[in-house]
């Protein structure tokens, strides 16, 4: 009886560890997005400050490609929106993951208790 519980416990622990990894991944991704968001905001501000006289380049690989100012502004704006959307998606994902991990935690704790009881019984028997 105790062994069976032990096995169950192991399985649950692994699942929980998996969940935790996923959570941390999404967390880091979200953080990246956040930095990109701030950066793009700065770029947008800078572009707004510029007037038509200045040429704008975009670095694509090793090449600096000339861009239109307005185009650049539009592109940056789109990118910003995209980033925001991504962030929200990741947030919802994180929430779900947290809920799941909570459930796993509860299961784990209950299993642990059972295991302890079983152990106690075994000790008593012995």
């Amino acid at each position: 009886m105790a062994e069976a519980i032990q096995k169950k416990l192991k399985v649950e622990v692994e699942k929980y560890a998996q969940m935790q990894k996923e959570v941390s991944k999404s967390m880091s991704a979200r953080q990246k997005l956040e930095t990109q968001l701030t950066e793009n905001n700065i770029v947008k501000e800078e572009l707004d400050l510029l007037d038509c006289s200045n040429t704008v380049y975009k670095l694509i690989g090793p090449v600096l490609v000339k861009q239109d100012l307005d185009e650049a502004k539009a592109t940056v704006a789109k990118r910003l929106e995209y980033i925001n959307g991504e962030i929200q998606r990741y947030e919802t994902l994180l929430k779900d993951m947290e809920k799941k991990s909570e459930q796993h935690r509860e299961v784990l704790s209950s299993l642990q208790q059972e295991f302890q009881k079983a152990q106690g019984l075994a000790v008593g028997k012995v």
Binding site: E45, L47, Y57
Partner: protein, 531 residues
């Protein structure tokens, strides 16, 4: 105790960890600040460069080729700067425009720096607090935990009793809370019942309390011995100004609770009110082996502090901790009420009611002292009536009672004292008698007779004689003063004139009460007349 110790250890561990976490944050903040400062420096340098760059059309420079080689070359188009905006976006702009961008970024960096410095301050403070907490829980510092056990229901009861309404059927204040929830009518009924119930309860509890107090008195025997020694020491001193004067005082001050006769309440009043005051006094003083409680402070002997220290030592010892934190358990012990009465010449009278009672009971038990029973019966003061009896100047034939006991005998010679109708002759007689009497009394002084050597109380916390009802001989008192009853019966014959006086006082007192019910408002009287 072990559990407590464990809890403390865990607590300590938690606090340590908290402190470490705070320190981590602080370090992190510091590193970030360093980074931003560097960035700021770089931008400053860039700014300078941008300022000077457009000065010349071209510069001769050594152009770096890879990491190790350089090549002479020229820097041209000095005004054209390609600026990285972020996220792989570049823009070509003039030097001045570049400068603007640089300023912009400098602002951002400055903001970041400010925020970080604030957070670092916060966390440094938190680290300090955590350190303090650590020292407290590890009991390394000078912190002492003072705990007071509030298990004593008596104090609660007495305080609650105090809050009881004067009339038994009125709403006690404690039931105010119910008003918000229930209807008023129901409330009143409840409060009435609970009030009466409470009243009864508190009486019983009062009896119980009195018993407790008596026990406490018995326990304090040894301590009282010291005090007695002090008394006899002082009695030996013939100078009346220096000797201590024991005086029984009833304080009916702030005790509004009257259900039964005044008589019933007398004994209870004093004990409970005294205990009240003691508690208040106790609450005010810090529990410290060296500090004296207020009532004792001016006592010119070493015995009081002895007693004090003993008590506090006891308290301290009993409750001395096996905690990690030195704990002082503070308890409201019942202390005898000390009343300091300012008599005429530099004397302060210390009165201890409890001691008085104790001594009375002792005397009763022992029932044989060197001086006469009657003598100290006479000197035993339990009511202001006794005072009047006592402050009788002459005991040749009849004791001539004093007109005013508020004047000190030592000042009898002074003109100011006597406002009585007595003639000058009487005054002189009394003076002479008084002197001789005091002399005699001094010689007769006796160890057990802790009471009045002195007939020289000037200011006394007495009920004025007008409140005759309170101190009539019909007072039915409880222990601790059972002697009072037989005592009082003895007294009347000894005080013819004073009794007369009292009777006089009674008569006018009786008259007003009779008049009072008859008093009718003007308007009503007018109406009655009209009818």
């Amino acid at each position: 105790m072990a559990e407590k110790g464990q809890v403390d250890i865990e607590h300590l561990g938690g606090v340590i960890r908290l402190r470490e976490e705070h320190e981590k944050v602080v370090k992190d903040c510091e590193s970030r600040i360093q980074h931003w400062k560097k960035v700021s420096g770089d931008y400053e340098a860039l700014n300078d460069r941008l300022k000077t760059l457009p000065d010349q059309l071209s510069y001769d420079i050594m152009v770096p080729f890879g990491p190790l080689a350089f090549m002479p070359g020229k820097l041209v188009h000095t005004n054209e700067v390609t600026v990285l905006l972020g996220d792989n976006w570049f823009t070509k702009c003039s030097a001045k425009q570049a400068q603007k961008i640089v300023d912009h970024r400098m602002k951002y960096v400055k903001n970041e720096l400010d925020g970080l410095s604030k957070t670092i301050k916060n966390f440094e403070a938190r680290v300090g607090f955590a350190k303090n907490l650590e020292t407290i829980s590890a009991s390394k510092g000078d912190y002492v935990d003072i705990r007071e056990e509030v298990g004593n229901n008596d104090s609660v009861v007495t305080k609650g009793k105090q809050r009881m309404a004067h009339k038994p059927n009125s709403k006690p204040k404690q039931d105010v809370f119910f008003d918000f929830k229930e209807e008023d009518e129901e409330n009143e009924e409840e409060s009435r019942d609970s009030g009466s119930r409470k009243c009864i309860m508190t009486e019983e509890e009062l009896w119980a309390r009195l018993d407790e107090l008596e026990k406490l008195e018995e326990l304090q025997d040894e301590q009282d011995k010291y005090v007695k020694i002090l008394f006899c020491f002082c009695m030996r001193i013939n100078n009346p100004a220096l000797s201590l004067f024991f005086f029984k005082v009833r304080c009916f001050g702030f005790f509004p609770f009257r259900l039964s006769d005044n008589g019933d309440m007398n004994g209870e009043d004093t004990s409970s009110s005294s205990s009240e005051e003691e508690k208040d006094a106790d609450a005010a003083t810090p529990v410290n082996g060296l500090s004296l409680k207020p009532g004792w402070s001016a006592l010119p002997s070493s015995t009081a502090p002895l007693r004090q220290d003993r008590k506090e030592e006891e308290d301290f010892e009993e409750e001395e901790e096996a905690n990690c934190l030195p704990t002082i358990y503070f308890s409201h012990t019942v202390e005898p009420k000390k009343v300091r009465i300012n008599t005429g010449k530099n004397t302060t009278l210390k009165f201890s009611e409890r001691k008085e009672q104790k001594e009375h009971s002792k005397r009763k038990k022992k029932n044989g002292h060197s001086n006469g029973h009657a003598h100290h019966e006479l000197h035993k003061i339990t009511t202001p009536a006794d005072l009047y009896r006592l402050f009788v100047d002459v005991k040749n034939g009849e004791p001539i009672p004093r007109k005013s006991i508020l004047k000190s005998r030592s000042r009898e010679n002074s003109v100011c004292s006597d406002t009585s109708e007595s003639s000058a002759a009487d005054f002189e007689e009394r003076r002479i008698m008084g002197r001789s009497f005091s002399h005699d009394e001094a010689t007769h002084s006796d160890t057990s007779d802790g009471i009045t050597e002195e007939d020289s109380p000037t200011a006394v916390l007495l009920q004025p004689p007008s409140r005759f009802e309170a101190f009539s001989g019909t007072v039915i008192e409880k222990d601790p003063m059972p002697s009072a009853v037989p005592h009082l019966t003895i007294s009347p014959p000894a005080l013819p004139t004073i009794l007369e006086k009292k009777q006089e006082e009674v008569a006018p007192d009786v008259a007003p009460p009779q008049q009072a019910p008859k008093r009718v408002s003007k308007f009503k009287a007018a109406r009655l007349q009209q009818k």
